[in-house]
C-alpha cells in the first residue's frame, strides 16, 4: 500500500495551492496541448525547465515524482522495443545482420517517454496542489456551457466528488480485508496465478459487498436530507478569481502562444540558431 500516497493532495500553502482550481485546470489543459505539439527537443527542454520551477514552487518532492515514473519502466521498455522494430527508416545506427536499428526509432521512443513524463509531472502538480473537492467544483464550473446541450453537469460533478470521497475509504477497506485474509493464511503476493485466484476472490467479494452497502447507506442518507439533483442550489464555498489567477492564466497563454509559434516556425528558428531542433 506504500504507493498509494503518490500523487495525492498534499496540504501546503504555496502560490500554486492558493490558485483557483479553475485556473489550475485550464493551465493544465494548455500545458497538455503544448505537450502534444511538435516542439522539438528544444521545446521540451524549455517546457521541462518551466515545470521544474512549478515543482519547486509547489514543493513536490522529486523523490515522489521519480517513484511515480519509476513504476512505468516496463511500459517504457515495451515502447522502446516496439519502436525499434517498427521504425525502419532514417539512418542506420546499428546493423545486426538480420535486423537494423534506425535512429528514428530511438528518437520516436525518446519523444514518447518525454511526453509521458511531462504529462505525469503536470497532473502530479495539479493533484498535489488541489483538494479533490475543489477540483470537482472547478470542473463543474468549467462544464457549465455544456448545460445548453442538456449535459448533466451537476450530477456528473456530484458523481465525481462522491467517487473521490470514497477512494481513500475503499483503499483502507482493501488493506483491512487483505490483512484479515492474510491472517487466515491467504497470501496475495506469492505463488502462481492459479494459487492466487482464491486469494483474489477472498479480497474482491468482501470489497464489493461493503462498497454496495456503503452506497446504499449513502443514498439513503442523501434522500433523508431531501437531496434533489435538479434543484437550484447555492455554494458554501464560492470560487473566486484573484489577481494571481489572472496573472497565471495570462502567463500560461503567453507561454502557449510562444510554443505554437515555435512549432509552426521550426525551420526558421532552426536556421536562426543553426541547430536541428527535430533531432
Amino acid at each position: 500500500m506504500k504507493n498509494l500516497s503518490l500523487g495525492r493532495y498534499i496540504p501546503n500553502d504555496t502560490f500554486i495551492h492558493r490558485l483557483d482550481p479553475r485556473t489550475k485546470i485550464l493551465a493544465m489543459i494548455f500545458l497538455l496541448v503544448i505537450v502534444f505539439m511538435e516542439i522539438g527537443f528544444l521545446g521540451y527542454f524549455i517546457l521541462g525547465i518551466f515545470l521544474l520551477i512549478l515543482l519547486k514552487v509547489t514543493k513536490v518532492s522529486f523523490r515522489t515524482l521519480f517513484r511515480l515514473i519509476k513504476n512505468m519502466w516496463f511500459m517504457f521498455l515495451f515502447l522502446f522495443i516496439i519502436n525499434i522494430l517498427s521504425f525502419q527508416r532514417g539512418n542506420v545506427l546499428l546493423d545486426l545482420e538480420f535486423f537494423k536499428i534506425y535512429d528514428s526509432g530511438i528518437y520516436q521512443t525518446l519523444y514518447i517517454i518525454i511526453r509521458l513524463v511531462i504529462m505525469i509531472t503536470i497532473t502530479t502538480i495539479l493533484t498535489t496542489s488541489t483538494k479533490p473537492l475543489d477540483m470537482t467544483y472547478g470542473l463543474e464550473y468549467l462544464m457549465t456551457p455544456l448545460k445548453i446541450i442538456k449535459f448533466p453537469t451537476h450530477e456528473i460533478a456530484m458523481i465525481i466528488s462522491i467517487a473521490l470521497r470514497f477512494i481513500p475509504t475503499l483503499l483502507d477497506e482493501t488493506e483491512r480485508i487483505m490483512k484479515a485474509q492474510a491472517s487466515r493464511g491467504s497470501i496475495l503476493s506469492e505463488g502462481k496465478l492459479k494459487d492466487k485466484i482464491p486469494a483474489i476472490i477472498s479480497l474482491i467479494i468482501p470489497l464489493f459487498f461493503s462498497a454496495f452497502k456503503r452506497s446504499d447507506e449513502l443514498a439513503d442518507a442523501m434522500e433523508a436530507r431531501g437531496y434533489d439533483p435538479s434543484a437550484k442550489r447555492t455554494r458554501y464555498r464560492v470560487l473566486k478569481f484573484t489577481s494571481s489567477d489572472w496573472l497565471s492564466l495570462s502567463l500560461i497563454v503567453v507561454i502557449t502562444a510562444g510554443f505554437v509559434y515555435l512549432s509552426f516556425n521550426k525551420e526558421m528558428i532552426e536556421s536562426l540558431l543553426g541547430i536541428d531542433l527535430w533531432r
Binding site: K2, S5, R8, I10, R63, T64, E173, R176, I177, K179, A180, Q181, A182, S183, R184, G185, S186, I187, S189, E190, P198, I201, S202, I205, P206, F209, S210
Partner: protein
C-alpha cells in the same frame, strides 16, 4: 506461546508527508495462557501493536518474539507464514471478511490455506461452529443471508478453526447487542481457561476489570502502563491523565468506600463479587 516486544517502533508510510509514528519503542512481555487487555484512545496504536504479533506488520525497528519466531524489519514471509495459524487475529468488524458461498466453506478457508486435509477440516469446522454457537444447519447457508451477529460468529469461527494458541481480538464486541457481547466475552474467557492466550483490544472497561489479568495501556504510540486492572484503575493520576473511564462496579465500590464501607477493591470484578463484598459488610450471606 510467550510473546515479547523488544524496542518495537512502527511508522506508517515512512518518508512521505503522511508518515505516522504509530508505535514508539514498545517493550513488554505477554505470558503464555494469560488474558491481557489492551486499552487506549482511538489512534493510540492498539491495532498496530497487535498486528505485529502475527507479522501482518513488520516492525520498522526492534524485534517481536513469538515462541521460536523472530519478527524483525527484514523478516521473510516464508519464515513466518506458519506463525499465522498459531496466532489467530480477529479484526474489528470481522463479518466484512466473509466471502464464500456457504458458511462452512468460509470457516474452512483458514485451515485449507494451512494445508489441512478435508477430513481434518470437517472436524475443525464443526468444532469451531459449535464453539461460537452456530447451528450445523446454518453451515450450508450463505453468510450473506445471516444476521450481523451471526455473521460475526461465523467470522470468529473461521479464526478458531485454525486452532490458534494465541487469540487476538480487536474490539470484538463493537456493535453487538449487550447479550451477544456478553456471550462472546464468555466464549473468550472459556477459551482462555482451556489454555489459549487471549489478547483483547477493547474500550469497555467493565470487560477489562472482569476478564483480564493484565492490562496494557497505550497512549500516542507508547506503552504507558502494564499492570493488573486493579492497579491501573486505582491509579487516579494515570486515569485522569488519559481520561480513562472507570468500570461501573469499580466507581460504585469507590463511592461505597467513601461512605465508610469496608470493601476490598481487589475482589471486586463484577456485580456478583461487589454484592458479596457489600454483604460481608452488612453481615449478610455470601453467595
Amino acid at each position: 506461546m510467550p510473546i515479547k516486544f523488544e524496542n518495537v517502533s512502527y511508522t506508517y508510510l515512512p518518508n512521505t508527508v503522511f508518515k505516522t509514528e504509530a508505535l514508539k519503542d514498545v517493550n513488554c512481555e505477554i505470558k503464555e495462557g494469560s488474558f491481557t487487555a489492551i486499552i487506549g484512545h482511538t489512534g493510540s496504536g492498539k491495532s498496530t501493536l497487535v498486528q505485529h504479533i502475527n507479522a501482518l506488520l513488520l516492525p520498522t525497528s526492534g524485534t517481536v518474539f513469538v515462541e521460536d519466531y523472530k519478527i524483525f524489519p527484514n523478516s521473510k514471509l516464508k519464515q513466518i507464514k506458519k506463525l499465522r495459524s498459531k496466532v489467530g487475529l480477529v479484526f474489528q468488524f470481522p463479518e466484512y471478511q466473509l466471502f464464500e458461498e456457504t458458511c462452512y466453506k468460509d470457516i474452512a478457508f483458514g485451515p485449507k490455506n494451512f494445508g489441512k486435509t478435508s477430513e481434518e477440516i470437517d472436524v475443525l469446522v464443526k468444532d469451531a461452529a459449535k464453539l461460537v454457537g452456530i447451528d450445523e444447519e446454518l453451515l450450508s447457508r450463505s453468510p450473506f443471508e445471516l444476521s450481523g451477529g451471526q455473521r460475526r460468529r461465523v467470522a470468529i469461527a473461521g479464526i478458531l478453526a485454525m486452532k490458534p494458541s494465541v487469540l487476538i481480538l480487536d474490539e470484538p464486541t463493537a456493535g453487538l447487542d449487550p447479550r451477544g457481547a456478553r456471550e462472546m466475552m464468555d466464549l473468550f474467557s472459556r477459551l482462555n481457561k482451556q489454555g489459549i492466550t487471549v489478547i483483547l483490544v477493547t474500550h469497555d472497561m467493565d470487560y477489562v476489570l472482569r476478564y483480564s489479568e493484565l492490562v496494557i495501556v497505550m497512549s500516542e504510540g507508547m506503552l504507558k502502563a502494564y499492570d493488573t486492572p486493579l492497579n491501573i484503575f486505582k491509579n487516579t493520576k494515570l486515569c485522569k491523565e488519559l481520561n480513562l473511564e472507570l468500570p461501573t462496579v469499580f466507581s460504585f465500590a469507590n463511592k461505597l468506600i467513601e461512605k465508610g464501607l469496608d470493601i476490598d477493591l481487589g475482589k471486586v470484578k463484577d456485580v456478583k463479587t461487589l454484592a458479596d463484598e457489600i454483604a460481608l459488610n452488612k453481615g449478610g450471606k455470601q453467595s
